[in-house]
């Protein structure tokens, strides 16, 4: 394992410290308990938005703290959801009285820890709503499983719900738009290589030179199945097919196309995937109204990508376009 780190157990501490130094104009970092808040939090009258999860997915979530997106991010240990004793103070810190929305990726750990924190914050008088993100079509959804994971769609939920909060929507409205984004987005990922969790020191799964993992999540976990390496166009087809059939898109609809790098794949390759994805969407009669290409929700240095398609309506498009000013996503300001 070769990484630009010091003590493997200090990775999150030191990384968040560096992040705070680099973006001191935008964010405030609480070192212990660890969380990051928007510099001007709480914003009077505004619904607070809190997200969080295991570290290792940077820039998610701390990179999305700022005007028009999150009010706070709560980083756990690498690939480990944060604990209530971090989530609660973060929630309190961004509550202006208008209540707080928790954006939670659907993993057992995240759900349980945010659930506990929400209960306790509510006991302290903060109204909390939870938006659960579960956009990963690689996972079969059923009452009898842990359900689908929250992956790429999380970034889109945070941006759009963040814009709704910024324009002054109330607690229920912000939660509702977050849910609406989640209901209209689907994601599927592929890994060409595994990542190595610093404290573990060995790659999170084994792949032969000619194998790839289809249907991976963002925690270095293996996917649904291995297949022999294919070209980018073939892989892109495999990612889009389940997305579109699950989303049930109809010709003429408008979508946002999001090609996300898992951390170790060159941007040039993401554009090759984007190219084919755009072609497929065009063949299906869909109009790509907005797009996003880059490393936004990663899995350490994993090579691979995920593709997300969000069915847009005019309100979502307007909220997507609204100004955002965070370390990792910025426009209109």
């Amino acid at each position: 394992m070769k990484k630009l780190i010091n003590d493997p157990r200090a990775v999150v501490d030191e990384s968040v410290e560096g992040f705070g130094l680099a973006h001191a104009d935008l964010v405030t970092v609480s070192a212990d308990p660890k969380y990051v808040t928007r510099k001007d939090a709480p914003v009077a009258g505004k619904v607070g938005l809190v997200s969080g999860g295991g570290s290792g997915h940077e820039p998610l979530h701390a990179g999305f703290v700022g005007r028009g997106m999150l009010d706070a991010a709560v980083p756990g240990a690498v690939f480990t959801s944060p604990t209530p004793d971090q989530i609660i103070p973060a929630t309190l810190a961004v509550n202006s009285g208008a209540g707080v929305v928790h954006i939670v990726k659907n993993y057992t750990g995240d759900v349980l820890n945010f659930e506990t924190a929400a209960e306790m914050a509510q006991a302290e008088g903060v109204e909390v709503r939870t938006v659960l993100v579960n956009d990963d079509v690689a996972v079969e959804d059923s009452l009898y499983t842990a359900g689908r994971r929250g992956v790429g769609g999380t970034v889109l939920v945070e941006k759009i719900a963040g814009a709704a909060a910024e324009r002054g929507d109330d607690l229920d409205a912000v939660a509702a738009i977050g849910d609406r984004v989640n209901q209209n987005v689907r994601t599927m990922g592929v890994a060409l290589s595994a990542c190595t969790v610093p404290h573990a020191g060995t790659p999170s799964f084994d792949l032969e030179d000619n194998e790839i993992e289809i249907g991976i999540g963002i925690h270095g976990e293996p996917g649904r199945h291995k297949i022999a390496m294919e070209d980018a166009d073939g892989i892109t087809g495999r990612l889009l097919e389940p997305i579109l059939s699950d989303l049930g898109t109809a010709s003429g609809e408008k979508v946002l196309l999001f090609v996300n790098g898992m951390g170790g794949t060159p941007l040039s390759e993401l554009y090759i995937v984007y190219r084919r994805a755009a072609q497929i969407l065009a063949e299906r009669g869909l109009t790509v109204e907005r797009s996003l290409v880059g490393n936004y929700i990663t899995s350490l240095e994993m090579q691979g990508c995920s593709v997300s398609v969000l069915r847009l309506d005019d309100e979502m498009t307007a909220l997507w376009d609204a100004p955002v000013h965070t370390p990792a996503l910025r426009w209109g300001v």
Binding site: A77, D85, T116, V197
Partner: protein, 204 residues
Amino acid sequence: MTWAVKWLTLSAQAMAEHRVELIELDRAIGDSDHGENMDRGFQAVLDKLAETPPETPGAALKLTAMALMSKVGGAAGPLYGTAFLRAATTLGDAAYIDAAALAAALAAARDGIVARGKAESGDKTMVDAWTPAVDAAAAAAANGDTLAVLIAAAEAAEAGAVATDSLVARKGRASYLGERSAGHRDPGAASSALILRAAAGAAA
């Protein structure tokens, strides 16, 4: 050292010793953090025990619940946190625990895990270690002492953990693998067996 404190101390030792093994189990069907999380959590328990030595077994378990809840994270943190909290509540401020109380505390712990995690037996989770342990403890409590209860629980938990090998996960992170999760031991069941073995060791 009281039994409860010794239990927690031996548990912390077990987590440190088996840290890599638990990481490896989680690497196969999860995200490679279970050993690290449990080790970090139980080190925090040791710190807390040293800071404010508990007066009763119940207090020791409550302190453990709080430490695990705030330091473990992931799925295991809230699940073990709830387990220890429910066990602590069952024990109340009793200074002495008999076999029946012990069996009841273990049952409460398991019920807490099920209440939080909604897993059933056979879902390939820590429940598959706890449920056989609770059943064995109840049977042993009928005509045995606390040591017998704890040994029965530990053995049943170990067997339960081994039995997860062939199961297909339906809860937790391993469920994302579907059929591919079979052939691997559940890391939470393995750590549960270690903790219950530590409980027996502390009583011996």
